[in-house]
């Protein structure tokens, strides 16, 4: 990066615009925004909305990488707008697009219905075959047992992994990285007894076995969840479970364990 780029008064954003009532297809509009070293792309978008064009639409909330709302494509790479500094993209122009692989609702806003419909299929909650009464106290867990799944529990559903996944791009039926990482999060939770129920969903072709370990989901994940690792583990566990299901002794045991 040149000194001139860092000291330039403005940086250009090429922002994808799409208003369904007006546009047939998305187009790009160029905007110059102040080039401030402390600004992230979300600050620049807020500047545009406040001072240049109030009709610009995008999602955001927390500004600190917690809520997972502001996922966008920056120069073709999925990023959180609140975690991408303008100074890292100088001299520009910076191409700002809605997250790849999802239908566009308006400007930078994508429709996430597909993910939201798939998510409950893997029962992302603690399933108990024999719930423990409250008076018997909480379900205890050691730090080692927590370490077994904590990484996967950090997912903020920002959808960057789906935007980076070429398998999801080419096969919309694929459950996808975040859903499968969350399945692992609950399957590995020592308090959970729903592995059998989830297994029936995640060992199907359009779940774990569609993944060909491209690994970009883990590269773009802002919370280091590593969905690619979760899916590869789920493949091994699915295989082991399938072999176990052939054995009558294990079949009886599993039937007793889960609902």
């Amino acid at each position: 990066m040149t000194v001139a780029a860092t000291t330039a008064p403005t940086v250009t954003l090429e922002v994808a615009r799409y208003h369904p009532e007006r546009d047939e297809r998305p187009t790009f509009e160029r905007y110059d925004v102040p080039n401030r070293s402390e600004w992230v792309v979300l600050d620049a978008l807020n500047y545009l909305k406040d001072h240049v064009d109030g009709t610009l639409s995008y999602r955001w909330s927390c500004r600190m990488g917690i809520c997972g709302s502001c996922g966008i494509m920056l120069n073709g790479v999925p990023k959180l707008a609140c975690a991408a500094f303008l100074r890292d993209y100088l001299p520009g122009p910076i191409r700002v697009e809605p997250l790849a692989n999802f239908p566009i609702e308006r400007d930078l806003i994508t429709a996430l219905d597909d993910f939201l419909e798939k998510l409950p299929e893997i029962k992302p909650w603690i399933v108990r075959s024999h719930p423990q009464p409250v008076e018997e106290g909480e379900y205890r867990q050691t730090p080692e047992e927590l370490a077994d799944f904590k990484q996967y529990s950090l997912c903020i559903n920002c959808m960057l992994c789906y935007a980076a996944c070429p398998v999801y791009q080419n096969d919309g039926d694929f459950l996808g990285p975040a859903v499968l990482a969350l399945a692992q999060r609950y399957n590995h939770d020592s308090r959970d007894q729903g592995q059998g129920e989830r297994q029936r969903r995640i060992w199907l072709d359009d779940a774990t076995w569609d993944c060909t370990f491209v690994g970009e989901c883990s590269v773009v994940c802002p919370k280091a969840v590593d969905p690619a690792g979760a899916i590869q583990q789920a493949k091994v566990e699915s295989t082991m479970n399938w072999y176990r299901s052939l054995l009558p002794r294990f079949r009886r045991k599993r039937a007793g364990e889960t609902m």
Partner: protein, 125 residues
């Protein structure tokens, strides 16, 4: 109304991980072809010494040598991919930390080198 996303025919040329993904998909053709060669080899061995010699001469054609070289490179690509996947499939934990990934991959490469050496000794000595 939402705008459905379009995929260009050259989407995979945008980054190296995607190019390698497509190469792995393409490798299936070559690895399937190599499997057919192996089956033909077994069939020719079964048919006797003359058939086997003829088959060996066929394998010496430049086209088949190029084919085998490409199939070998694709097999290497898969080997590297599998070695990369191993620490993710088998996350060895030391206490509460995930470690030992490098050691796991290293052991795999050592085993690969050792087996390669054994094969070379058998073939060349």
């Amino acid at each position: 109304m939402t705008y459905p996303r379009q995929t260009s025919k050259t989407w995979f040329m945008t980054s190296w991980p995607y190019r390698i993904f497509m190469l792995r998909e393409l490798s299936g053709v070559f690895l399937a072809g190599y499997t057919i060669l192996l089956v033909l080899l077994v069939a020719n061995v079964h048919d006797g010494a003359n058939a086997f010699t003829d088959f060996r001469n066929t394998l010496r054609s430049p086209a088949l040598i190029v084919f085998n070289a490409v199939a070998f490179l694709f097999a290497l690509l898969h080997t590297v991919t599998w070695f990369q996947a191993m620490p993710k499939v088998l996350p060895l934990r030391y206490g509460r930390e995930h470690r030992l990934a490098l050691a796991l991959v290293g052991v795999n490469y050592l085993i690969l080198l050792a087996l390669t050496a054994v094969v070379l000794v058998i073939v060349l000595v």
